[in-house]
Amino acid sequence: MATTRRRFVQGSVAAATFMAAPAIGRASETPAAAKTLKAVMQGDLRSLDPIWTTANISSYHGALIYDTLFGVDANDKPQPQMVESFGTSDDQLTWTFKLRDGLGFHDGSPVTAADCVASIRRWAVRDGAGQHMFLRVKDIGAKDDKTFAITFSEPYPLILDAFAKAGTPVLYIMRKKDAETDPMQQITEHVGSGPFIFNTNETKQGAFYVYDRNAKYRPRSEPASGMAGGKIAKLDRVIWENVADDQTAIAALQNGEIDFYELPPIDLIDQLEADKNIHVEVLNKSGQIVWCRMNWLYPPFNNVKARQAMLYLVNQNDVMKAAFGNPKYYRACASYFGCGTPMENDENTEWFKEAPNKEKAAQLFKESGYDGRPIVILQPTNFAVFNTADQLLAQWLREIGVNAELAASDWGGVVTRRANREPPEKGGWNIFVTSASGAAFGNPITLVGHQANGEKGWFGWPSDETHEKLRDKWAKAQPQDRLAVAKEIQRNAWNFVPHVYMGLYLQPAAMRANVKGVIGMPELIPFWNIEKT
């Protein structure tokens, strides 16, 4: 169970009041096996509200049952999805959006502009990009049933990127009555307008989740590409099985009891590739970046020298080798914006050519005035990748005379303790390791870890005024100018070192050979377009 490898469900937990939900998922007969896909996903779908939690799996659930205004295509370009047409006023301050015809929720009611406005408002409270955008929103409202408009106080070219982004939380359009739920509380009904319908009657929370094809869904005419294009449900039913044990899931896939396994342990990929009934494919080409956060509030990492020391200490290849084995599936990454993203660059990465350089790291620690105090590393026992990275980190720190102390607990314990701002010896911490999709690092606005606004920001609480100004500059820049600003951000970032990367890995998914048409993209696996042949 807990022991699962890299099943990094970002936080999260269950949801849904079955009792309250109307009987919309009424599939009177069980669809044939040939049209049913059984999938083992990254972890249990703990929350059914993709806005309330940032857990990726909840976002997958959202993509099945909800539709989006825009969606990024395979090239990460925003494309209209529910929107028929849109435009801006001459002063670039007002944006107007018109919905396409034939959009309807699973309960039979039509999708209106008012639903969209309410959904945008709730999402904007919880989403980093939404919050950033709403600081500049003067007015948002429905013009008629199909049209709504947003007015800004200054031009905001990022709006389409925010609406279309696939990183959590995604702007899913819910019914107005659901979207008016307090953003800090979960919705209680799960009715969308997407290509699949959540079958509340047959779902058993924590065990399996059932989705049936929405026969009334009207897809766009363009071919499917990422979250854009026609969402054609070729399966009658999708079932997510919550198999907690990797060994069990692999055996089940080999036996044909399941069709799709999202995160098989990379060490066992060879074994799966050798099986002619199984097909292995990397769906998220941007990979997953493992990163190390340091606590800026206490010594030694309140000193920039100690943070710089970490850049020189970490041997990304060793971390990846220990965690994944096969070099085909990992690489080291030097860019602050991740590798393979449009913002990737090599500004101020001289340290990378040198690292690992233990002498230099030791020297920098010394210069920081490190006094031999214990460094507390939070170590989750139930995430093998982080667990491995933490142990190597402790080993390297000890090698250069730093008194590293591993504080082991399960992931629940780590996320609780990392929020503690007390000194490390009083229940606080110095270092924790986590991961995020490589694509997320490419955007300095959406990833909360890219903030450097001190104690208001994300765990580790880095603080740098220049960084904050540059992020703002990036947001206002026209798309063609963003890379130049990104280089400025990176030059500054690798001087003050908000965090350190520990490597990038490419997670392959494994599926039965007859499963075709899986759309691979960062941070989301949509289930339309998939078929069993």
Partner: protein, 294 residues
């Protein structure tokens, strides 16, 4: 596998002993001798571990999952650590967990049991509390204790000890109640002896034999429970080499690198087997009546 090894150990023990009386002892208590011999080997290994060559902690990713023989007698695990060194050092942790759980639960259980059995007023409330602790599934209590607090060997020992205590208390109390009705105890009470003296002189000695037997079973089960907790991600800290940890973190490699599981797995099974054999043997020797009852 484990049975075969147990037998060879038994033969070993039998041939090694000299003199008619010793040979007689071995023949009368084969399981006790075999168990004690295996256990003695592991205890010796555990004590000698820091002085033996081999580093259980250093990770070298470049040589991960090397098969046995390639510079490492029992190969390396997924982080490139020496499986043999870890298995030997694992004996320290697993035996420490087993012995301390046995010792603590017996001591605490003995104290509470004597108290409940001798002082009538304390009996009912204490026994209800013990019933309550016994009613909570041990493994769940242990998982909750370890998950909710910080993972350390101490937490694991406490978490496994707590559910064992009520069982010891019950055993001690039943012995105490039985002994109290014996004529010699009644005579002592009538003669005006003080309670502590009665407990010390008359009651305590009768509890020792069944407790020793019980302690061996607790020890064996504690070693297994530690392994199960590791499997569920609520065991000793991953850095510390315990057999449970090693098996749990290597279970993906059952087919690809079986040595990572077999070494700690066989060691675990052997030690648990040995402790059980010692328990059976002690039971036969110390308390023939108990032997028939159990």
């Amino acid at each position: 596998m484990s049975e075969a090894s147990a037998f060879s150990a038994r033969e070993l023990a039998a041939t090694a002993s000299v003199g008619p009386s010793r040979r007689h002892f071995v023949r009368r208590h084969p399981s006790l001798v075999a168990g004690a011999a295996i256990l003695a080997i592991f205890v010796a290994l555990a004590l000698a571990a820091p002085y033996l060559p081999g580093d259980p902690l250093t990770m070298t990713p470049a040589r991960r999952l090397s098969p046995p023989g390639s510079g490492f007698l029992l190969g390396t695990d997924a982080l490139g650590r020496d499986v043999l060194a870890r298995t030997i050092h694992g004996a320290r942790v697993s035996l420490l967990v087993g012995f301390s759980v046995a010792a603590f639960s017996v001591l605490v259980g003995l104290a509470i049991g004597l108290f409940a059995g001798s002082i009538r007023k304390a009996d009912a409330p204490l026994m209800r509390l013990m019933d309550a602790l016994m009613a909570i599934p041990a493994i769940l209590l242990a998982i909750a204790l370890v998950s909710l607090t910080r993972a350390s060997v101490t937490t694991v020992v406490i978490a496994i000890t707590i559910p064992e205590v009520p069982r010891v208390v019950r055993l001690v109390r039943s012995v105490v109640l039985g002994v109290r009705e014996q004529p010699f105890v009644e005579a002592a009470i009538a003669g005006g002896a003080r309670l502590p003296k009665i407990i010390l002189r008359h009651i305590l000695p009768s509890t020792i034999p069944p407790l020793i037997v019980q302690a061996t079973y607790i020890c064996a089960s504690a070693i297994l429970v530690e392994a199960s907790l590791s499997f569920l991600g609520a065991g000793s800290p991953p850095e510390i080499p315990s057999w449970g940890n090693m098996i749990a973190s290597s279970r993906l490699y059952l087919a690809r690198a079986p040595w990572t599981i077999f070494a700690p797995g066989i060691a675990l099974a052997l030690v648990v087997l040995a402790v059980n054999l010692v328990g059976d043997g002690l039971r036969d020797r110390l308390d023939p009546r108990l032997a028939r009852r159990m």
